[in-house]
Symmetry: D2
Subunit: 345 residues, 4 copies
């Protein structure tokens, strides 16, 4: 089958690989109809993640149709249209029972080497094998557009979980750090959740313009502290959602937070250590949390929100093509001239 294949750090290309087969009775094989390219994929192709061997298929955002179903599947049948979480979970352990699927021992992350579990083939391909398919996949209802469903498996699930974990309350002033696809969906989620002012902090002028065109305020990081002070009577934001990753953005988050602020970071962090100003954290009674997209737990809620018209995540998609376009999309995403690209298979 055709797939986007990792060759070496920085090099991906479209090529042929063997079509995956069922390996367990709880597996499904999905024929992919639409796949997304995520910011995480840029790390993948740069070779930032361990365990990604040459020849591996990349990609973890997809929707499609079940074409083979393991004998133990209870929910899914061949022919079912499906949406997918970007990672797998068994659905039956104590973590899954509590809705904490990311911490399931059976977690694997599609197309990202061994960074987040055992290696699992990616989804920028004609077919993908889905372990624990009854849990990892959800039925795609006819009233949900494919592009929206694709975003629910990762980017929107991440944006929404940030809003939810921060206990964003109606009228709260919410600052989102980062105006990439996840940041923009975080901002749209905050708006949907009745936040008051939503401010996207982002150096890229095009991305600031996008935020402003979609109901948020926007500011360059250098201007953000003064603006937040002005917007909040000098005290800072009730909620700060960090969607970039790294210690610098966390420091900025602190600088924008008022006493009793809730700060949630959904950006990725690889640093051993971050110097947290603990006396200030105590004095201001700050709360700080880290969260990873909860696509399995949130699937039903996100579906209801999208089909009910609460929010439309597809506005972030600004590039559509076929698999042949994927290598170019990767370059444009790395250059930040695109926000979100999807490819039809």
């Amino acid at each position: 089958m055709r797939a986007l294949i990792y060759r070496s750090p920085g090099v991906v290309e479209v090529g042929e690989v063997p079509r995956p087969a069922l390996l367990a009775p709880t597996d499904a094989i999905v024929k992919v109809s639409l796949a997304g390219i995520c910011g995480t994929d840029l790390h993948v192709v740069r070779g930032d993640f361990p365990g990604l061997v040459a020849g591996a298929v990349v990609g973890h955002e997809f929707v499609g149709e079940v074409v083979e179903a393991g004998s133990a599947l209870q929910r899914l049948r061949v022919g079912d249209p499906v949406m997918s979480s970007d990672f797998t979970a068994c659905g039956h352990c104590r973590w899954c029972d509590d809705g904490d699927h990311w911490h399931c021992d059976q977690r694997a992350f599609f197309g990202t080497g061994t960074a987040f579990g055992p290696a699992l083939g990616g989804a920028q391909a004609e077919y993908v094998r889905v372990p624990h398919a009854d849990t990892t996949l959800g039925l795609l209802p006819p009233d949900c557009p494919s592009e929206a469903a694709l975003l629910m498996g990762d980017n929107l699930a991440t944006g929404w979980v940030a809003v939810e974990r921060a206990a964003t309350a109606p009228g709260d002033c919410v600052v989102v750090i980062g105006g990439g696809a996840v940041g923009q969906l975080t901002a749209l989620s905050a708006q949907a959740a009745a936040a008051g002012i939503v401010l996207v902090v982002e150096p890229n002028a095009q991305r600031r313009a996008f935020a402003e065109a979609h109901g948020s305020l926007a500011a360059h990081p250098d201007q953000a502290p003064a603006l937040v002070r002005r917007l909040t009577g000098g005290v800072g934001a009730e909620v700060v959602l960090e969607a970039v990753g790294g210690n610098g953005p966390l420091d900025l988050a602190l600088a924008l937070a008022r006493p009793r602020a809730r700060i949630v970071s959904v950006g990725a962090h690889v640093a051993e250590s971050w110097a947290f100003p603990v006396a200030r954290g105590f004095r201001d009674e700050l709360s700080l949390g880290f969260a990873i997209g909860d696509g399995i737990r949130l699937r039903r809620r996100l579906l209801r929100m999208v089909t009910g018209g609460t929010l439309d995540p597809t506005v972030v998609i600004d590039a559509r093509g076929t698999l042949a376009d994927a290598p170019a999309f990767y370059r444009q995403l790395a250059a930040q001239t695109l926000l979100k690209a999807v490819v039809t298979l």
Copy 2:
């Protein structure tokens, strides 16, 4: 001073009454700048409420400025621009401490006779005396339009409390029964709170059109059951918010509710008894609650929502005039040719 005066059942007119004076050290006198006419006022002028004597001033929605302040006021000062709850509360008893201000022993309701506590002069007047002013009134910040603040004291507080008490969750299908000012603000509140589909059920075609123009679906009561079934895969709505009052609308609410639905009624109820289908309520695990606008507790949250752009309640105002226009506005509101009228003083 000039005021709208109740003469007899069905008769209100503009006239002169004595300007109110401070009676307690926790009172304030407010010079009214803007007053609203509420559906409740229609009951008042019809003579539906006890204790409204000829010559009484009508009205309970207002914003203005403090012109006299009792000696024990801690929060307010002469010159403060203020918004008001439609009822008073002491701010210091166990009910107030718990945010249940409506049940305060010191409750009085402006301009409604003795239906909801001891008689208290109304606010469709140049001046109004406000007992327990530190609690009953809130500071009106410069970034909040007067018309929005006026609505927060009653109609929006009622709409929002319905949404809140029903624990409306993101993506929920919400049915609002009644398309008057409160019903429309309930629908807008539900949208703000990330509801999915919001459907306003209302016989008046003009009001249905208003709902549709402001982000909701709308249906005539006769069509509502079939439409709700179609919208919800046959099971009914997760949330039904009743904003009319009376047993008929409650029956309709039940007819539109799915298993485990939360039904909240913010319409007024005067019937001794309502035949509740208890076997069905048990089988479907229904929840049913009654709520009254919580303007004091919700003031800060509503202010943040309005000034943050979460929702704009002023869209329901379709008539603006002076006190001289009030009698005509009453007639038009009774005829349902207006949705919401406000008068400048």
Copy 3:
């Protein structure tokens, strides 16, 4: 196999019936080690429920071991010790996905005829067939006593759901109407959930004594209104949990409720109609809900509570025997000389 068999209204006896077999790949056969007798069973044997044919096996509370496992089971294996919900649910539909398992289309209730779904063999037997076993059953961990696990499938799940649905807050005054096994477990659940005063209202003196011996106050229904007034400064209870069923207990619940009280009924209701005092409900902003034990959704939480020592439900068990003792236990339970009986198989 040996089982407790329904012969005719009022007549149950121990006898032989065929051992059940797997009928679907998601079924399991459980060898029962412990079965409980529930108040609901008294209705069953009286012939109150439709569809219970002569020869049917009674009972819906059990723990045991999986001895046959359908080929599609993902979670359970032969040899697993298991606890069970008293009803079945598929685990994969929209109701199950939302935690509303009782409303699953695949619901069946063990040993109760067709009152709550298609007929399904009961569990007061050596073996029981369990549909949708991955969802209906839970793994019984070694640190949880069998008797506690047995109670989690119905009585404790019912008591806890009452407390949870009423949003019982720390320090709340909670009245429980009914001192049977469910009522007592409701009271213990309220205590565990940080309620303040917990009062059990019950005519049976022995059951009042049990409540008093286990951390609650107790009162005869005739004395309850005066006592609640005295305990609450005249205003009534914040939370009233009705665990008997029928309109009379609901009327009593209203009589004990303060303004803004939350009333939750977990008693069974078969009446077409109940005269609800709607003007009072509105004036006092009452909330009223009906709830059915949520054993599948609550399983993990209840397990943690019991194994962590939060509460010990087994204190309600005051009769232990073998299947041969079951007919006598039924009589004693009907006479209210027992609170809760369990039989070893």
Copy 4:
């Protein structure tokens, strides 16, 4: 009047100072009947806090009776028995309106110099001046023991806020770091809030014994990691509540936390910086918050809990005396041979 007076670092003694007088119309003068000695006071007398001048009165935990009431007080009257928060708040600003009293601009902390606001005389004295008395003080109801009320102003408010801020859920495994008065009350609060296992981690054997005698497990910090692993199937605690302060206890908190754990610190922190392991925090989706006792907001709830029998905070008091005993109590508290001392005035 007689009072406990700070002389120099390490030196406190009983002596005479002028009786305080009303300075503002919202002040009250309280005749103290019972005062507590808090761990914070040990820092005070060591001279750790700035702005405490020689001759200042120490102490911030007290109950008593209003003997003078400012003219603007709305709630309190001369003769009222009162309990107090350990800090003042105006009750009328946006922070107070939101329940965030600690961040009120009018905050002052009794008897602690200028560390937490402008200097304010302490409460280990016959009389104390209470600014913003309507908010800072609460009425002490007759059914609440004075000793319990005393603890609600600081230590219990701190313990409970830890449990609350961590969203402690029924059945959660809760680890409390520190077995001083606050740690023990945190553990008792966790038990009251339906936690499962509660483990107090504390080096002092006597304090571990106290925890074990009051419903918790206890472990020396060196043994805690292994014990928590054993108690939680190897994964760590859902909730870790840090009640000591300093970076070491925070490091220990992290070591005991499972993925998605909520860590709340109510210990005091003065370090500029703490090395937070951010990659681990992200990978495990940790939440970390800092909290300060919320005595004003929590007063009503704590009163209901104590008078309803939910928990008895007075068990931590192991020394009772008069003001003359206070210097000795300070020494014993510093030596950790006492847990909590109160003095009658």
